[in-house]
């Protein structure tokens, strides 16, 4: 290949993956002058230009959202199967995997990854989360505490832009915020009822990565105030919410230090046995199926939790026959996620003279109240609850003809509705794991991943408690038509899978140190969900971003000292 040489494929840093955490690694490295390559297995997605359905009204879709049979045939098992979001769906043959037990694996394989698809909820962890494993004797102790990550939360929040309030709760430390979205009448009423009847429980407005009061740091990114479209997962032309595409990636590109290589399916990380370090990354070009090597001094692995596990497991060498950094055999084990099985809803007959106006891109939130300050139930840990309360319209569709038309054209305000969803911490166990299949490979010749994750008794007890407590809180508020149930959704439905490459102090019981470096291969950093020692109850992306910014800045210092 003319012009191609090892030199042209050599960078100071390689970042594998371009989602929320990979984007942050690239931004921090480039800001500090490090020549960086992002390897992304999917296609490129440029902010605004590659959002084909953004800001389109329902009538602008040929089939009003339904995907045609012709377009659907390669996407039998995919999510996002709507005309609005089909461009994010994953073809069935892209990365088949084996569900030893039912598991929903939602992937975002394009530049920006799931940062274009996330729910944009950003709650901080506290030491009641970081100290969970040591207090309750599970997993291993986190090698960091809140004070280690606090400045990095602040750092990423200011840049990303977070809407919310200062709530002053020790279990959910305050963020750097812009004004939060309003609570509805019903949410405010429910808040009062909960705080009166259930001391220690709080209902707050959830903090979310939306810009409500743009600061210079946001306009410099080319981002604007959220316009309440609530079409976020199509991409946002205003840059109203945080995504790699709107924020970190264009920022990093403007430094002139970043190169993005799309269609680069990572096969493995190259380990040099003589140098005792990782020297690069092998990719398969998804279009030509050619294997190509890229080289760097530092490698950040941000391929999303399970895929980062898969890449390390497939990075074998004489030194690491069981996967890179896997001397203790724990790689791929202690995978955990969030328990979203519980769902509830109810109605309220009051506030007949009130309604909401516009659209709310966020929701209300009950931070974890179980076992926070001490153990008090027959299950470990606890759950946060998402709350959404609004007033819908009621249209009778019983009849046809003139009555139906009049009903449709003149909808009546209905009762106020409240919905509730559980976000439970799951306790990582050795049994819940991923591993590579010995024979089955995907179309790139990469071994298929076996996912073996299941609920435990602790999860079942927690769901039962959520159901009981949600009913109680609804009843005390005088709600009617209360329904709270266990949807029995499989693991992964939460899209918060974590772990497998956990952090810890001891290399015998963990894979990563307190700076997210592989204990056994210090120039490889893993800062996506794979690094999580435990899961907390908070939506995890904010923590991944803060850990990534922290680790990237550490990596730059080490690079400059020549110690890495």
């Amino acid at each position: 290949m003319p012009g191609d040489s090892v030199k042209n494929r050599t960078y100071e840093a390689i970042v594998i993956g371009s989602g929320a955490s990979g984007g942050w690694a690239a931004k921090e490295l480039c800001d500090k002058g490090i020549n960086t390559l992002i390897l992304e297995r999917g296609r490129n997605v440029e902010h605004i230009k590659d959002y084909p359905t953004a800001s389109k009204a329902p009538w602008q879709f040929e089939h009003r959202g339904t995907v045609s049979i012709e377009q659907r045939k390669n996407y039998q098992g995919a999510r996002f199967l709507r005309e609005e979001t089909l461009h994010w769906a994953l073809r069935d043959d892209e990365q088949p995997f084996i569900q030893e037990k039912p598991f929903r694996w939602v992937r975002g394989y394009h530049v920006g990854g799931k940062s274009l698809l996330w729910a944009r909820q950003t709650q901080r962890w506290s030491d009641y989360d970081f100290e969970g494993p040591i207090r309750d004797a599970f997993a291993v102790d986190w090698p960091i505490r809140y004070k280690d990550i606090e400045p990095w939360y602040t750092y990423v929040e200011k840049f990303a832009g977070i809407a919310g309030n200062k709530d002053g709760l020790p279990e959910l430390p305050d963020s750097e915020v812009m004004p939060g979205f309003e609570m509805s009448c019903l949410e405010r009423y429910f808040k009062e009822s909960i705080e009166k009847n259930f001391p220690g429980r709080h209902l707050i407005q959830a903090r979310c990565a939306h810009i409500t009061d743009p600061q210079p740091i946001h306009t410099q990114q080319g981002r604007n105030k959220c316009q309440n479209q609530n079409m976020c997962n199509r991409g946002c032309v205003y840059g109203g919410y945080f995504s790699s595409n709107a924020s970190t990636i264009p920022w990093a590109l403007r430094t002139g230090k970043l190169k993005i290589r799309p269609h680069a399916v990572v096969h493995s990380i190259i380990y040099d046995e003589k140098k005792n370090r990782a020297t690069g990354v092998r990719i398969i070009d998804s279009e030509t199926k050619e294997m190509i090597e890229f080289y760097a001094t530092v490698i950040f692995l941000n391929a999303s939790a399970l895929n980062s596990n898969a890449i390390l497991l497939n990075s074998t060498s004489t030194r690491f026959p069981n996967g890179l950094g896997n001397d203790n055999g724990l790689l791929g084990k202690y995978v955990a996620w969030h328990n979203y099985r519980g769902k509830g809803n109810a109605q309220y007959e009051g506030f007949k003279d009130k309604k909401t106006d516009g659209r709310n891109p966020s929701n209300a939130y009950i931070p974890r109240f179980r076992n926070v300050f001490k153990q008090e139930t027959d299950f470990l840990r606890g759950y946060a609850i998402g709350i959404g309360g609004g007033r819908g319209t009621f249209v009778s569709e019983d009849l046809i003809g003139d009555e139906l038309r009049e009903n449709l054209l003149h909808p009546q305000l209905g009762d106020w509705n409240i919905s509730s969803w559980m976000m439970g911490e799951t306790v990582p166990t050795e049994k819940n794991h991923v591993r590579l299949h010995k024979d089955l490979k995907d179309k790139y010749g990469i071994p298929q991943l076996i996912v073996s994750c299941d609920w435990t008794d602790n999860d079942d007890k927690m769901v039962a408690d959520y159901i009981e407590q949600s009913k109680l809180m609804f009843e005390k508020a005088g709600f009617i038509n209360i329904k709270v149930e266990d949807t029995k959704s499989p693991p992964g439905a939460d899209i918060h899978e974590m772990g497998g490459v956990r952090m810890g102090n001891d290399q015998k019981t963990s894979l990563l140190n307190k700076w997210n470096q592989l204990h056994e291969c210090k120039n490889v950093f893993v800062t996506d969900g794979a690094c999580m020692t435990s899961t907390g109850t908070q939506n995890p992306t904010l923590t991944f971003m803060a850990l990534t910014a922290r680790a990237s800045n550490y990596a730059v210092e080490e690079l400059k000292k020549g110690t890495i």
Binding site: K352, T356, G358, I400, L404, R405, L409
Partner: protein, 173 residues
């Protein structure tokens, strides 16, 4: 717009498609407003008439004024399996037969009440495919109507970008 006028225009449009000379097609000249459909001209008229039966225009707007008939054709052609497509046509022709037996005229020439009677009868049928047809056409007609630009903007106050969220405002009298 007058229902009969719309149906007549529809017939002219589909006639136009059929008689489009081959040289025009090969030169790339075609009427982009008319997509190739698996529904025959008669079935197209029947489908339009059914959607008009479900949501007649009355003194304002109905299914036909916002193009629900075109939407239904395209939706069933593109998004449903062949068994559903075949059943839709079979049921449309069935409605035509029932109209001729019961009211001695074509379904499209029946009065709103007569058409309503024939269509609603399917909803309580013991034959599964008749009920399925009723449910599909009714729900998709409502969806096509509710998601049309005219209904959303002129009646439902829809804005792509509201620019605000107020959680608790007075209901206007």
């Amino acid at each position: 717009m007058n229902r009969r006028k719309v149906l007549k225009q529809l017939a002219i449009a589909t006639g136009g498609l059929i008689t489009l000379p081959q040289w025009m097609i090969s030169c790339g000249i075609s009427d982009s407003n008319v997509h190739t459909t698996s529904f025959s001209p008669v079935e197209q008229q029947l489908l339009a008439s059914v959607s008009d039966t479900i949501i007649p225009a009355g003194n304002s707007i109905g299914a036909l004024s916002v193009g629900v008939d075109k939407y239904l054709q395209k939706l069933i052609d593109d998004c449903y399996e062949k068994d559903v497509q075949d059943n839709a046509k079979f049921q449309l022709n069935g409605l035509e037969k029932s109209a001729k037996v019961k009211f001695k005229k074509s379904f499209v020439d029946c009065s709103q009440l007569q058409r309503q009677e024939l269509f609603v009868a399917l909803s309580s049928s013991n034959v599964k495919v008749e009920k399925d047809f009723f449910t599909l056409i009714k729900s998709e007609t409502i969806k096509g109507f509710n998601t049309s630009q005219k209904v959303m903007q002129d009646y439902l106050n829809y804005k792509v970008a509201p620019g605000h969220y107020y959680g608790c405002v007075d209901v206007k009298a």
